[in-house]
Amino acid sequence: MNHARLLIILLLLTACGQREQAAPAKSIPFKPTGDVKHLMQWVLDPAADHLWDSAGSIITAEGTEDLAPTSDEAWLAVQHSAVVVAEAGNLLLMPGVAKDDGAWQDISLGLIEAGLRAKSAAEAHDAEALFDAGGQLYRVCLSCHAIYIKDDERTEPPVTRSDLEESSN
């Protein structure tokens, strides 16, 4: 085989490969059932609340109450909520839901990671690990809200107590 023939064969193979790569991916018909707020309200918040309510302590004069689940069934329910949290991260990455392919993506992946960490903790019935995963989950929430929720920010300086005392005099 001379060099010219070899070159032609290589060019043809390359062209075929490019055509395969360029073939459009089959579009998946996602059908979001609501916006991000709905996703938070109906999917993520209840699951996150369940994780948070399932770890920690209540201390009173009567003693310390440990909030960790006390039965296999209750731990399984926590595991369920942990998977919901993780999958909520995937839902946030869906086309039509994702706001951008930068911080949004990182935060969504962080949510998945926090959910999976909580799932592992629930599988191991490890209350301390579940508590830590709950803390990680909240840091993800804060990161997201700091970037994507502008309504909560104050624009004017806060009133001080001395301001109030002066105005009442």
Binding site: G56, I58, P158, V159
Partner: protein, 142 residues
């Protein structure tokens, strides 16, 4: 309304009124009023060492001798731990002074900023990055 419905409704009201757990994830501005700063002095009656925020309940004795129960929202347990506050740092019955901001609904609920102990030791108990006022209490704001 059946007896069962009444009991269920009562249980729901009690749960939503007194539990700091559940639905506790919110930004400062969603629940607290930056224009309603307050100072409370009282004894600690209950500590909820939970995510996403720790809660400190105190009993405040008013000038007329009557007592009020207040619940004070703190930072996340993780942030409090980093500042040297753990769930056993403040014993039940300890008298504390809390600087904070009252709830928008004017209930006996507040977002805590600083806690001052009887010996004068002051600790920042709040959260960073929740939209709370930059009032100098949080060193990370400076």
């Amino acid at each position: 309304m059946s007896f069962k419905q009444i009991v269920t409704a009562a249980a729901f009201i009690l749960t939503t009124s007194f539990s700091a757990q559940s639905n506790a994830h919110h930004a400062f501005g969603a629940e607290f009023d930056a224009n309603a700063p307050l100072v409370l002095r009282g004894s600690v009656t209950r500590i909820e060492w939970v995510n996403p925020h720790a809660w400190f309940h105190i009993e405040v004795t008013k000038d007329d001798g009557t007592k009020e129960q207040w619940r004070i929202e703190g930072g996340t347990p993780n942030t409090l731990l980093r500042r040297g506050i753990n769930k056993n740092s403040i014993a039940i019955g300890t008298i504390i002074v809390v600087d904070g901001y009252q709830a928008k609904d004017r209930s006996n609920s507040a977002n805590g900023r600083n806690i001052t102990l009887a010996d004068g030791k002051k600790m920042f108990m709040g959260s960073s990055g929740t939209g709370a006022p930059k009032d100098g209490a949080d060193a990370s704001d400076r």
